[in-house]
Amino acid sequence: MSLGPDDVKKIAHLARLGINESDIEGYADSLSSILGLVEDMNTVNTDDVLPMAHPQDVSQRLRVDEVTESNQREKFQAIAPLTEDGLYLVPQVIE
């Protein structure tokens, strides 16, 4: 599997990653070599194998649906880059 500059740009956009124009070629090379390594997976037929999502095949533990956390807004917003009146600020989205 070989990726070109356009693929890298598309993937970077999907991941919302800003990439310098000058680094794109390098990423195309290294991502291609990683995908080359990964291609070895195709040497084995897995048609009859069940996927394994958890190392011990246990199912997700559930809990009663009730509030267990207290409000810690001020504590958490103290480390935010930009807040006002208890809200997180981002650039204007709606004109």
């Binding site: 990726l3 693929d7 890298v8 993937i11 970077a12 999907l14 991941a15 919302r16 990653l17 800003g18 990439i19 310098n20 680094d23 990423y27 290294s30 991502l31 070599s33 990683i34 995908l35 080359g36 390594l37 990964v38 291609e39 070895d40 997976m41 195709n42 084995v44 897995t46 194998v49 069940l50 996927p51 394994m52 999502a53 958890h54 190392p55 011990q56 246990v58 997700q60 533990r61 809990r63 810690q72 504590k75 958490f76 103290a78 480390i79 935010a80 880059p81 930009l82 997180y88 981002v90 650039p91 204007q92 989205v93």
Partner: protein, 485 residues
């Protein structure tokens, strides 16, 4: 001279009143000051906090409320959230992050009376095998400062190897405790997936990540695991299962122990000097009454390819939380929301993290899910079944931890795939969720070699017993690099 003692010895000295926690803590803080400028094994040294905790520990002891770890200073990998203390995860993204809460591991250690010396350097977001991807610069290997300490828990391994801390915590997603333990000549344990809470441990690949102790000996790892292990309702994958007293079975006889040697771990690509030391360790076990059995783990060659789908896929999902909005790095003057996301992430993450996020985003993108992620999950089962079959025949599996001793700084940075292959013997253990250890097994060209011991699920006690018995007959784990004696 406290630094030449094991954690177990220091614990006995504290108990006997031969030293106070304040004296002990100060002596390690002094060593950090003296040596860490060169090693770079710490991101943050919490001197004031450490001395305050040490005073409290001495007070607790004086009032008869001390356990085996009360007053023992250790270091935490900078992936564990520590309330009120910078938690960087080795990244520019979190260079300004003062955690508002503590990880369960940190809380449990604090409750056991452990003193925190500081936070250790690591590969950025634990993605690396050499500690070279850290925003804070590479850590040096105490045995040769031209060489890497391994990664991603490189700072933890180097700080223990140089005796700047008697022990430290680490995390292991594909070998990040065992490989640096091997390269630095210390003892490290990755427990069974789910044995130690992941709460407050910054997530890399959630189905693989597991915390564990890094120390001088198996006996020390047992003491630490006693405090770290246990169910935690705040981690949805934490296992509801009783915790052993990991120190209780250290002295059990290993007469008749069945050791499996997978032929795939002794084939092409294994450095001859490493093979020699591992062979010698196996011979030592044979002399101690163990039975050696040749086994096969036929899907071993698939472990690295599978890992480089599973881990990046999970990382691309986990790291989507870093968006420049709620905490962490935010770019200057974003022109719109997309620019805020893209530049905050582009500027905040280093090259290797970006690479893995992109591999993961690609593998999970429309049209590729079946070919990559689903395929990898199916192969993961085959890899896991190899181990289940082997454990029908043997009690533990042994082999090298890493294919070579520590390589030089800069040697593999231009070739990610060759870097990835340094975890070739450790990765399958994470995919299967099994416990594994690395134990010092001698030297090749004056650099440490690690013996890997893999056990069945929740058999940490057996692993520690098997390692401890070896350490009763050998003194590799007692070696200290000359410059740090």
């Amino acid at each position: 001279m406290y630094h030449t003692k094991t954690l177990a010895e220091l614990s006995a000295m504290l108990e006997a009143g031969e030293v106070t926690s304040v004296e002990l803590t100060q002596s390690f803080l002094d060593r950090i000051k003296q040596f860490d400028g060169e090693l770079n094994s710490f991101v943050t040294v919490t001197e004031e906090l450490a001395l305050a905790q040490a005073k409290a520990a001495d007070k607790a002891r004086a009032s008869g409320k001390a356990g085996p770890l009360t007053g023992i200073p250790i270091a935490h990998k900078d992936i564990f959230c520590t309330e009120g203390v910078k938690t960087s995860c080795g990244s520019k993204m979190l260079d300004n992050f003062i955690s508002p809460y503590s990880a369960t591991v940190v809380e449990k250690m604090r409750d056991a009376g452990v003193v925190m010396l500081g936070k250790t350097n690591m590969d950025e977001f634990a993605m690396g095998s050499s500690n070279e991807t850290s925003f804070y610069g590479p850590v040096k290997n105490p045995w040769n400062t031209q060489a890497v300490p391994g990664g991603s828990s490189g700072g933890s391994a180097a700080s223990v190897a140089a005796r700047l801390a008697p022990a430290s915590t680490g995390t292991d997603t594909g070998g990040s405790i065992r490989q640096p333990a091997s390269l630095c000549g210390i003892t490290g344990l990755k427990p069974t997936y789910g044995r130690i809470s992941r709460y407050g441990m910054i997530a890399f690949a959630s189905s693989l990540d597991q915390a564990g102790p890094m120390a001088q000996s198996a006996e020390d790892c047992a003491l630490l695991l006693n405090a770290m292990a246990g169910f935690d309702s705040r981690d949805s994958t934490s296992m509801e299962r009783d915790v052993d007293d990991y120190s209780a079975s250290l002295n059990n006889s290993i007469e008749g122990l069945k050791i499996g040697l997978p032929k795939e771990y002794f084939s092409e690509g294994l450095d001859a000097g490493v093979a020699k030391q591992v062979d010698d360790a196996i011979a030592q076990y044979r002399a101690m009454g163990a039975e050696i059995i040749d086994i096969s783990l036929p899907n071993t060659h698939l472990a690295v390819p599978v890992y480089y789908v599973v881990a990046p896929a999970e990382c691309s999902s986990n790291l989507s939380r870093f968006d420049g909005v709620r905490f962490g790095y935010r770019c200057e003057d974003p022109k719109d929301l997309e620019d805020l996301y893209k530049r905050s992430r582009g500027e905040g993450f280093g090259a290797e993290v970006k690479r893995r996020i992109m591999v993961g985003a690609y593998a999970l993108s429309a049209g590729y899910y079946d070919a990559y992620y689903l395929k990898s999950q199916k192969l993961r089962r085959l890899i896991s079944e190899d181990f289940s079959k082997a454990f029908e025949q043997v009690d533990v599996i042994m082999g090298p931890t890493a294919p070579s001793t520590a390589f030089n700084i800069g040697e593999k940075t231009d070739d990610p795939v060759s870097m990835y292959l340094s975890d070739i013997y450790t990765i399958a253990v994470n995919l299967a969720g099994l416990p594994g250890m690395s134990v010092p097994a001698g030297f090749s060209n004056n650099m440490p070699v690690g013996l890997q011991i893999i056990g069945n699920y929740f058999e940490e006690s057996r692993l520690l017993n098997v390692a401890h018995q070896y350490q009763q007959k050998t003194d590799w784990h007692k070696q200290i690099p000359e410059a740090f004696v």
